[in-house]
Structures are given as structure tokens and as C-alpha cells.
Symmetry: C2
Subunit: 463 residues, 2 copies
């Protein structure tokens, strides 16, 4: 280890208890964006924590829940942006929690609380990393009530914390567009990542976009007796037929032009898939799957992430209770999401979907756009990616597992494109962190390692 | 009019108030088979009413709710069976009733109560008809405490009242099979029928059968994040594809052998359709329909009742709340009913459906049979049909409107086939009786006419 990494690790180990206390303080504050509970109070704690760590704080309203920015200039001309969110998922079902979700508690080397992994613990680990790279003396100055001597920071940093990530980040893209100048930076570290059961750090080069729509059919003003089904139109069948035009049994989406901008995986991406563990057996065991899509096996299950999807999220029509009721449903709806690969554009595809349904004779099928995110993907050869991988392997002593593309979606695109930067993830969660579920937790050791990793990224990024 | 019809009409007019009082008494007793409320108490009132009208009563248990039989021998060798049910539909939504559903009340020449049209009023009108054809003297004897002098009845009569019609008559077929001897008769009058807005009496020559199934697909042990849709199986799509094999866009059902036993309408049936009023405009106005099945118009909408149907009654999968949730549904179900024409057999078709799904590769789609009824249809030339039509036209002074086949289903088959009889309907409801709905009602004049009609059928049947 170099002098600086020794100094970093010493600082973090010596001050771990204090950072865990800060995590407890933040996690004790509910901040459920789905209901609004505690969100504003939590944004104030976030602002206070940033200030206490020597950052200049600005809170933005007018973009849904408050967005909190923390800035600190550094030695080099470069700025690294940290994205986090202070909102959390709802806590239900409450009865499945071993201890109350907003009463953080340590058990067996783990810290349990709603949001501790997703994503409050990560935020604190980043503050810890910041302290660590500034050196002991400066930390003292900061905690003496004065400002941190920021000239010691290897590069400028910019924290962005939003409070709506768990409800789909509906305002963050507009916020970034409106503040491109203030957000100018040279790379960003996203939330997420995490450690697999064998101790490998994980990272994802990007996320798929999404177009989420509701298809609705209404053919009568009320449900009718099914004895009239020979003549009265059935909304469920009509919806069925409209859905049937969307994709073939081979899963290929049939909307004309759907694949126009879909990029295939690069040679490097395909190499990355080969380096990942085969997750087929795990998926079978976890989810009880017998047959996968297109009867795929092995690593094909992962590579298929480069196939955009058309997924039915929900179907609603007619009678859904026990037993029988003979009814022709007047209305039927389907929730459908399309996961998009680079460089597909949900705006473009929404228009193509509408046009396709019209062409197929389904202009009576109403399409409502419920949400959209764009795909984002870093190149496997990106320097920030390489730095994150190298430092991760140094901290964890194991090879990084790199997903060329995550299956889900994220607002990373909202930063990457307008700011012209790459986005990487480097997290503190592990395979059993139970994000969004009861008994959400982190391992204290992962918190420490996450901070060590971040501090090394900070150091390396400035060079 | 003949002497006898004059005598009948005089009796009914003179005693109308008393019969309405009996109807009130019966309707004041709740008897909701869906919940069980008051059903047994109501069966006892039915038994008492039959006894008071001079019939020998037997109550059968062991077939779900009590089945009440009333018998009375008559002069001729023939027996006419009356089918009625004493159970009623639930009363919700209660707030839409002008007066409480079980507090029968007369307003503007109408009697309002749950069950007054479907089917308690009809039962009382039949008792009234019975009294009327026996003559005044015999009625007096009956009400003096003794038995009615039944030798005056023109034919033997047999009342069958069940208490499960509103929940699909699950036990009546077995009851009839077990009691073929006791139920021996030469024809039956069903519930139903009724008067259209122009005052024409209506009758239906038969009813379609039904096979009601639930298709269920379960491909994972829990819902998964839709970010995995490129590899994880989606139960809603799987169900969608299974449903897609059931019928073509032309509404033709694709199950091999489905139409093997489906009889086309007879020439006489087709003539009957031509005599019916065109209901297209009415359907458009009532239900807000823009386009009917197969873009049909006019009387084709009615003739199509001879096309068996495959109707989706309900669809359930995944997320059905407001907004978006990104989920791959682990389970999906569809409720589907097939309406069957003579001589299709739901037992046969259930096996063909299962076999079809297996052949099409959908052995993972579970098919649960929720209910079945067989089709029944009288010939348009049947003597009991002719008698019912002729006497109806005599009473109402208007042409009978004869539906060659009703779109719905009924347990008439459960009597017709094992007893080797024809079944006709002759009711007291009218086009706005609101059966199954709030403010169910009959017009007092229709009650009187219904009794007059029944009495004439009784007289004519004995000849």
C-alpha cells in the first residue's frame, strides 16, 4: 500500500464507530417518498451532515422533494459527482422486521434499518471517504467548528442527493438540465454495486431505459351478461388482440422501427458476460423457474439483457373474485413496460407504439404513458470504469464482476448525457442486503470497505 | 271468451289483493342464496303457501338449500310441472333502492321488492292460477281449513321450488336424476318470459349451455423485477398465448371438435328471428356499443346466438393499482365461459379444451372447471310452446315475441332431458322489472295477466 492508502485506511478504521453513528442518525429519520413521510425532515439532516463534513450546501425546491447539493473544491481541475438518494421504500410488511425499520440496530456485525443499504449508508460511507483523503489534521479543523481545509481534497466533489429515487425520479432529469453549469463535472459515482456471495465486488456499466404504458380498452358503458357474448364486444378479448400485435412468440417485438436504434453488445461486453458466474441454477432455486424465456440456459440468460423487452406488468378485466360470474367486461387494461437498450429512445418508441396500434386497427386502444427513462451505458474501456474496477479489486482482493448492462433502469442517463460524463457504481451493499424488503441491512465490514474503495477512487480520479 | 276463461278472470280480479298480499308476505322474507341469509326460513314460507293452496308438500334436504315440492292430482292423466326458485340475488348497492328491498311496497301500480319479479311473484301468480281454474266453490272449501277439492283441477300439477338458482343451481340436476319417478310429468313451465315495451309477451324456446373454466398459469414462486424480463418467464404473456389458441379473430373457436355437436338454427328458428324487433339501436343506446362482434348489424346480432361463444369474464395478473410498478407477474388467471348451443356437451368440451391446450404445448396452463350447464331447446312446433304462445296472445292481445334460443343458460336442461319433456316460460316480469338490480318491481297488471295466462295454459294443457 502507498502512504496515502495507509493513511486512508487508518483514518477509516479509527473513526468507523463515528460513521456508523452518523448512519444510524440518518436511518432513524423516516423518509418514505411513496407517502411523503419524513422526507423534508430527512433532507435537512442530509444538509446538516454535508455541512458538518465541510461542504457548501444548497437545497433546491421546485423539483418535487428537496434536492440537496454539497460542494467542495479540490486541488485538481477535475470534479467528481456523487449521486445518492435519501428517500427509502415503504416498510410494509412490518411484521417481517426483526427490529423496527426506523430504529437502526447492530446485530452480528450488521446494521439493520430501512434505507441503510439503499441508500443512506452509501452516502455516509462517501462522507467518510472524503474525510479520509483529506487527512487527519484537516478533519480536526473541520470538527473544531471551522471549515474543512479543502485545498487538501485531491479533486473537487459534488454531492447530489434526491428524495424521489424510490418513486421513479420524476424530476431529476429536469433538475440536471436546468443546472448543467452548476453540475459541471468529469465523472459520477452512482449508488449501487455490491458484494456477491464469494466476496467479489460488482459493478454495472449501464442500465436499460424504460417506456411504461397503460393500454386501456372500453367498449361498453357497463359490463354485460355473458349470454350476450355472441354480439356484444368484449374489452378483454380486444385488449388481448392488441397485445398480440406487440410481440411474437419468439419475444421479438413487432412494432415497426422498434429496433432501429438498438445497439448490440460490443465484443468487450460479450467477454464480460463470459467472466460472470452462471446464474441459471441460482435463478431456478430462488424463483422456482422451470423454463426461461426462449428456453435459454446459462450465460445466455445474462446476455439476453441486450434484447429489449415488452413485459406485461399487470392485467385487469372483469370479474376477479372467487368462483364464477358471467360477465362481458366493458373495460380492460394492461400495464406494459418496454426495457430499452442503448440507444433506444422512449419518446420515439411511444410514438411508434401508437402508430403501430393505429395501423393494426387498434385506434380504440388508449395508450397512456406512465413513465420513461433513457438507457445509459459506459464503455468497458472508460477510464473511470477502469479506475473503479482496479481500486475495487485492490480493496476486496477479488476480481470485480462487471455486468455490461443492468436489466433495470436508472436516472443515470439524466446526468450522463447532458453533463457528458461517465457514471460508475461502487456500493456498500451485499447479496443479502434486502433492499426494498424487511430486515434491510449492511455488513459493517462492507461499509468500511465501501469507504476505502471510494477514497481510492477519489485519489485516483484526480490524477 | 269461454265460460271457463270468464270464471278464471273473474276469480283473479276479485281476489287480486289477496294474492298481492301473499306476494308481499313471501318477498318480506330475505332469501339470499349467495350469503345464505333467510334461505331456510323462506323455504318454510313456500311450503306453507303451497299447503294453504291445497297442495301436498315435501321438502328435500341433502341437495344444498331445501328443495320444496308441491303436488296436486287433477282430472286428466297429464301432469304439468312448474319450476320456480325462492332464492334471490343480493341487494347491494342498497343506497340505490327507493324503499328497502325486503319491505315490499306498492307505488304507482307497481310492487317493489327484491325477488318480486325474479321469481317470487311468479310463484304466487301460479298459485293464483291454480285457484282460478278450480272454481270459486273449491277455493272456499280449501280456505275453510279442508283440502282443496282437487278433482276439479284440469290436470295434475307439480311445483318444484329450489333455493339455489341465483348461485347457478349446483344441485338441481342431481335432484331431478334422483327423483325421476316422483317428478314424472308431461311438460314444464319455467320462470322468466315477460312483457316488452310495446306490450308483447315474450318467450324463449331454450337456453344455451355453459362451460365455465379458470385458466391459471404460475411460472415463478413470486413476482420478479421487470428488469429481468429478458430471461424470466412472464405468466401474463404465457396466459395470453394460451388464450390466443382458443379462438380466431373471426370469433371461430379453434378447439378441435368444438363444433361437432353444434346444431344450426332450424328454418322455423330463422323465421322467428325475422319476426323479432331489431334490437341494434336499443343495444347501442343502452350499452354504448359502437361496434358489435364481427361488425354485425340488425337481426344478425340475434341470430348469432346460434354461434357458441368463448368469453373472457375476467383477467388477473400482476400489478393493478394506480401508476406504475415494474413487475413480472408470477401468476396470471383468466375466467372464461363458453356458451354452448344444442347439442354441445360441456363434459365433452372440457376434455377437448384440456387436450387442445396440451397439444398446443400449454400443459402448464391449469384448467379448473367452475361450472357447467347443458343447452336446452324446445322445438318451435312443440304443442306446449304453441299453447303458451296462443294463450299469451289471447291474454295480452299482442303477438308473442319468440326467441329461438336465449343467450344465457338455465337448469331447464336438468328437467327436460331426464323427464323427456318440453319446457316453456311464461312470466310476469316486464322490460323494466330490474331483476338482480335495485328497485326490482312488477306491475300489478302484469301479475294479473301472468296468472290469467297460466290458468289458460293449465286448462289447455289438460286437453
Amino acid at each position: 500500500m502507498t502512504d496515502i492508502t495507509t493513511q486512508i485506511d487508518t483514518h477509516l478504521t479509527s473513526n468507523l464507530t463515528r460513521y456508523i453513528q452518523e448512519t444510524v442518525r440518518l436511518c432513524a429519520q423516516p423518509s418514505i417518498s411513496a407517502t411523503g413521510q419524513g422526507v423534508v425532515d430527512c433532507s435537512q439532516i442530509v444538509a446538516a451532515l454535508l455541512e458538518e463534513h465541510g461542504l457548501q450546501v444548497q437545497t433546491f425546491t421546485g423539483y418535487g422533494n428537496p434536492i440537496v447539493l454539497g460542494k467542495c473544491p479540490g486541488k485538481s481541475a477535475k470534479t467528481l459527482l456523487f449521486y445518492n438518494h435519501y428517500d427509502v421504500q415503504p416498510v410494509e410488511p412490518l411484521e417481517l422486521w426483526t427490529s423496527p425499520p426506523f430504529e437502526p440496530v447492530e446485530r452480528d456485525g450488521k446494521l439493520y434499518a430501512r434505507g441503510v443499504a439503499d441508500d443512506k449508508g452509501e452516502f455516509i460511507a462517501r462522507l467518510a471517504a472524503l474525510d479520509a483523503v483529506c487527512g487527519k489534521e484537516h478533519r480536526k479543523a473541520a470538527h473544531g467548528g471551522g471549515r474543512l481545509n479543502t485545498t487538501e481534497l485531491p479533486c473537487s466533489v459534488l454531492f447530489v442527493l434526491e428524495g424521489e429515487e424510490e418513486v421513479g425520479s420524476p424530476h431529476i432529469a429536469r433538475f440536471v438540465k436546468d443546472h448543467v453549469k452548476e453540475l459541471t463535472c468529469h465523472g459520477a459515482v452512482w449508488e449501487g454495486g455490491g458484494i456477491d456471495p464469494e466476496g467479489h465486488p460488482g459493478m454495472t456499466l449501464g442500465y436499460r431505459g424504460i417506456l411504461y404504458v397503460e393500454l386501456a380498452v372500453e367498449l361498453m358503458n357497463r359490463d354485460a351478461h355473458s349470454g350476450g357474448a355472441h354480439s356484444l364486444p368484449n374489452a378483454a378479448w380486444r385488449l388481448h388482440r392488441a397485445l398480440g400485435t406487440l410481440k411474437g412468440t419468439d419475444e421479438r417485438i413487432l412494432i415497426p422501427g422498434f429496433y432501429d436504434h438498438a445497439l448490440p453488445p460490443s465484443t468487450k461486453d460479450l467477454e464480460l458476460f463470459e467472466a460472470l458466474p452462471d446464474r441459471e441454477a441460482w435463478l431456478r432455486q430462488q424463483l422456482g423457474v422451470k423454463t426461461f424465456v426462449n428456453e435459454m440456459h446459462g450465460r445466455d440468460l445474462q446476455k439476453a439483457v441486450f434484447n429489449p423487452t415488452c413485459n406485461i406488468d399487470g392485467l385487469t378485466a372483469g370479474y376477479q373474485g372467487a368462483g364464477m360470474k358471467t360477465v362481458i367486461p366493458a373495460k380492460a387494461t394492461a400495464k406494459v413496460d418496454f426495457r430499452l437498450v442503448p440507444d433506444q429512445d422512449p419518446d420515439d418508441l411511444f410514438m411508434k407504439l401508437r402508430s403501430h396500434l393505429d395501423t393494426q386497427g387498434f385506434s380504440d386502444v388508449k395508450v397512456t404513458r406512465l413513465g420513461a427513462m433513457w438507457p445509459y451505458k459506459a464503455s468497458a474501456d472508460d477510464p473511470l470504469v477502469a479506475l473503479t474496477v482496479r481500486t475495487g479489486e485492490e480493496v476486496y482482493g477479488k476480481k470485480s464482476l462487471i455486468d455490461a448492462l443492468g436489466g433495470g433502469s436508472s436516472p443515470a442517463y439524466a446526468f450522463a448525457k447532458p453533463l457528458g460524463i461517465s457514471v460508475v457504481d461502487a456500493g456498500i451493499g451485499y447479496w443479502d442486503s434486502r433492499g426494498h424488503a424487511p430486515d434491510e441491512n449492511i455488513r459493517i465490514q462492507d461499509f468500511l470497505n465501501g469507504a476505502r474503495h471510494l477514497a481510492r477512487i477519489l485519489e485516483g480520479f484526480s490524477m
